[in-house]
Subunit: 487 residues, 3 copies
């Protein structure tokens, strides 16, 4: 603590990455806005308010355990771990961008959940009697979900943007998310418990489009930092595993009480298990000597969780879940091997974490699986009550038939795609403005631009040798300095 | 990502560790078999099926919160973390086998849970009316438990086998587990909520027997890699702590609703706390200057959780739990100091993680504690209903007396031992076939055999120096190459 | 495993840090005492005892899900993770004290929870009918809370004390905690669900006072080790994030069933989110080029959770929670920048982890917020029943008015402060006795004193170079030895 100094002096760059005024200003203004808006709009819902005791009596609820808190809090905490540790550590694989990965992930998510509570609240939880948004545990889960979309997008631009850009990207991302979610879930009445469409498809295409607009033709200047070291790969596995383990909670968190949550957890558990085996198979098959690649293990093993998101609460059947995981493990791994280079070279989309393989393709597959499964639903399989319960065929949707539902599911997927691509292009153009403090091409993937990085005393000589090779002019000075110190 | 190359070329070894066809083939075939078998056999049970709403009405269940999901899902997720992060990271202590530790653990577990759902399903969850296995949350927990046995066994052979061998070992291990579990729990009607016998004793002797059959007389050729570095020891503590913290969930996950789960969690919590203090005491006592050894802290602190597994749901009493932890912390730590070298030199059992000290001995002690505690149970302590509830003295076992139960508990322990040793010897012989791609003695404990390992640019020179000492012929070339690069 | 040797020989120090007899003796004696005291005093409560089935029938409880276990176990496990992984890993930021951070944290906590069960049990859970302490899940949570106070205190003396001192500090700390907690919660009838006063204020001033008594004027001799390296900062983020994510569980774990737990979780979630943004803002603002400092991100982001502890279960309102987090993020970060150096230079308080900024100031603020919020409570906002429920205005406190409650809350804060400072000075004097094996000034923050540290083969040359610079006489020998080995 304290005894830190930045290793490389970067003031002589043409790009101004000094965010000393911009970053604090954005953080302060946005946090103050949140306080004001929360003051005007946000209150506890009846299950979190001290009036719960009155509410219970009025509604003949016999026990506090019927409070939604006890149905959803364990799942909420698992989702929370996925957002902060899962996404955060998954991105620490880069050798010198772990602070940025886990730290900016933290910043984005902490801001995003507040803005999401408001945006989603206005659309879904507004109490028209008093004009207030009433929040409870389900709103917290939805806010975490909403942020997940932006964190997915962060994966595409990891290492290439400034924290100010990330905050702007999150502000717009959450806003777009809330609108597309409202259209898909409320207007189209599509179901998407695990968010294959709403979260993954939207988030991935949002990020990919931004990355496309922000294309850096000379990114190979920082190529030496765009890779992992041994320990950074192990750190990334922390992220992978927490995402993998808690994905059943993700897909079941806001599913129906009872069998809905139960079934969603089982389907996701199975789909993920299946993905692991096909990921390993493809990873080994495509290397000369059958070795496994950590990039695939860290990412493609999760594809099954993404793809089963929409259909997790349907009667997909255990073997159906296995098939979804089987296919997505294959497609995602092949994506890392063949598609990522293609996207970069031909389509000019630089996708640092390969979100196209982990979220975009499996998300679209998930949307299709959801549409097909919904269209094929029958009362024989679901039961009368079960069918109505599962698809919420109540109120104005009471007469909707499963095949119509399938069509609306497909329409939902298109909406997610349009919002992702369209929104991403727009926000990409905003982020191209030369005012956000983004790094120069040669400084991408490097924590020293935005973080006080401790001088790594124990490994000083290796760093010097390495620097010597990469930036010879500077290193000669540095090495001398050190020799002087040492002698 | 991508910018990887393997550091040492190994094609000139007599052993063929190229698993390019074997590993994908095994993964594909087994995953396809799972899909087919799940298609034929596996369905949701009544609590995870959309017919839950009918079931509820029929059985006068007033609230969805009565769904078993809400009793067990939080514990399930804790167990899930123990299996994937706990076991996975505990084994990352080796300096250059972290990918294998956490990655192969992932692979084994993901395959094992699927096969376990089938094997355990045929024995325990088969609905004879339609010939289907009906799964719910408790099956997922049991599948995770089943895999734990195989992961324990992996600890004994860590670094010395190929992923194909591990998958074969898991296939047989799960099968044996399901049979011994059925004999112990159903036929003998022994109780083993936390699996001291069924999981730990079986798993440990299974692994030790395999290791005995696969004995490598020249393993000291890779001795330099059979140890930790500073950061790998910290990674391993992640595994230790998640195992330690969530062990109360492990032992209580499938215990009886209500007081059963409650008591199992308390007993485990106490036993584990006690283990920590005696582990520290013994570790310090046996070093010249009283220093602590990370190996002991990482492993022996967990012995109390293993040993209290069987008796956790009994009226062991809080002080009884403390005594169990007290004894096992001592025995396990002394095991690491004196028994592990003895086993290796005299009995030719090479036990990489020391599972004999962490699982075998505490598991047997746990079985004995369970037998004694069961035999000593009285209606005074348990109450009439309580005694019958705790030991499930219902149906054909309604008239069993506690002392008879004690004898059956002891018999259960013997069954676990026999299956572990017998099964391990058989599977060890299978794994000796020269077709599985296992590494040469000098390549044990080294990730580069089965993984694309990133060139660790920052620490290139140290590795060279170290290699220089170990494999001089190669290094001279390498060093030159590097000097050329650097100049 | 095994292949370890200590890097630096330290026998020639005037201080005797050999704890070979003292540490084992203390561990054994204390663990034996625990067993005896538990044997005499501790039993299961009616919800964890096999008599639960009788209890249920007698009290017309219709379902096992009404067992307190299901209300609190998920929160308990989250708290458990905070204690062992959260606190443990947060302190791994030092470059060469990760074993001590996570290992001694483990030791302290494992001992502390046992002693806390007894101390808190005597005060709160004693069944006067048979003189036994009856424990259940809530006692486990409270024991974890109690230990949190001591772990906070450990943060101030991290790296400067021996494990024996830590055990003594914990023995006294838990004792003092139980007394102050009883005075604050039972006698004054103050509310403090999340422990801003009882845990954080007490723990922080306890640690700071001890650190003040143990002041080391020549601590700069080990200044080179009092800082982080790149990977140790990433490890510390594991601690930060698990604390941050699970803090809603911490503040809601022992709150009232139903709306109490629900509201406490929401308030904490919001306060923490707000802290992150202001921490980032201040951290960036106070650095020359706007770079972020990991010390702030690791610590000050948590200040909102500390400060909302007391008021979390009150009707603080969502925007109230955001304001609390907003203010504390600012104060805590400025504390790290300006107050920590001031405390060290002027007040002679060496605070390794900066607990003054993370726990002391936010804890006091939390106490004040709680007092003000309680004093301002009205039946309009809370409802008749709600007000009585929230503040437990029952029995002899049935007629207490909110403004009186506010005064008692403030009195509670003073009690916590007095116990912390007074107790800390007393215990500091005890720890000054020259019998505990504490390290010399030049060996502070160094794991090699109390741990077998693996020789870090891969980075041997860098360490030598570094040592060469620091302790030249020794290194010449070492380097030669190595060269001999290598040639």
């Amino acid at each position: 603590m304290g005894n830190c100094m930045c290793i490389r002096d970067l003031c002589d760059r043409p790009k101004n990455t000094n965010v000393r005024w911009r970053l604090p200003a954005v953080c302060f203004i946005w946090q103050l806005s949140m306080i004001i808006l929360f003051g005007v709009f946000v209150r506890y819902n009846e299950e979190a308010d001290t009036h719960w005791v009155h509410y219970k009596n009025k509604n003949n609820i016999t026990s506090d355990i019927e409070n939604d808190f006890y149905f959803r809090y364990p799942s909420f905490q698992d989702v929370h771990v996925m957002i902060f540790v899962g996404f955060g550590f998954l991105m620490t694989f880069l050798k010198r961008y772990s602070f940025g990965a886990v730290g900016f992930n933290f910043l984005i998510a902490a801001f995003g959940i507040q803005w999401a509570l408001l945006m989603q609240g206005w659309f879904n939880s507004l109490d028209y009697s008093d004009g207030k948004i009433k929040i409870g545990i389900e709103n917290l889960i939805n806010a975490d979900f909403c942020v997940a979309g932006c964190l997915i997008a962060y994966g595409a631009v990891l290492g290439k943007v400034s924290p100010v850009q990330l905050l702007v990207m999150t502000l717009f991302g959450i806003t777009l998310y809330a609108v597309e979610e409202y259209i898909i879930l409320n207007i189209l009445h599509a179901k998407d418990a695990g968010g294959s469409m709403v979260i993954h498809t939207f988030g991935a295409y949002y990020g990919l489009s931004i990355s496309w607009v922000l294309y850096r033709p000379n990114l190979n200047k920082s190529k030496h930092l765009n890779g992992s070291v041994y320990h950074s790969d192990v750190f990334a596995m922390i992220g992978t595993l927490f995402l993998w383990m808690f994905w059943p909670s993700f897909n079941s968190a806001i599913a129906d009480h009872g069998d809905g949550q139960h079934r969603a957890a089982i389907n996701t558990y199975l789909s993920l298990a299946s993905s692991v085996l096909t990921t390993v198979a493809i990873s080994s098959l495509f290397q000369k000597t059958g070795k496994l690649d950590m990039v695939h293990i860290q990412n493609s093993t999760l594809a099954g969780g993404v793809a089963v998101g929409t259909a997790a609460e349907f009667m997909l059947s255990p073997y159906g879940a296995l098939i979804v995981g089987f296919i997505c493990g294959i497609i995602s791994t092949i994506g890392y091997i063949h598609l990522t280079p293609f996207l970069e070279e031909k389509l000019k989309i630089q996708d640092t974490c390969g979100i196209h393989n982990l979220h975009a393709m499996p998300g679209v597959i998930g949307g299709i699986v959801g549409a097909v499964t919904a269209a094929a639903a029958t009362t024989t399989v679901y039961g009368d009550l079960g069918l109505a319960n599962t698809f919420d065929f109540t109120g104005s949707f009471a007469k909707r038939a499963p095949n119509i539902q399938g069509a609306y599911q497909a329409a939902g997927l298109c909406v997610a795609l349009c919002f992702g691509i369209g929104g991403g292009i727009f926000v990409g153009l905003v982020l191209k403005l030369p005012i956000w403090g983004d790094p120069a091409d040669e400084n991408c993937f490097d924590d020293v631009i935005y973080w006080e990085v401790p001088e790594d005393e124990e490994s000083v000589p290796p760093i010097l040798v390495y620097n010597n090779h990469m930036i010879p002019n500077k290193n000669s000075d540095r090495r001398e300095t050190h020799f002087v110190e040492q002698s």
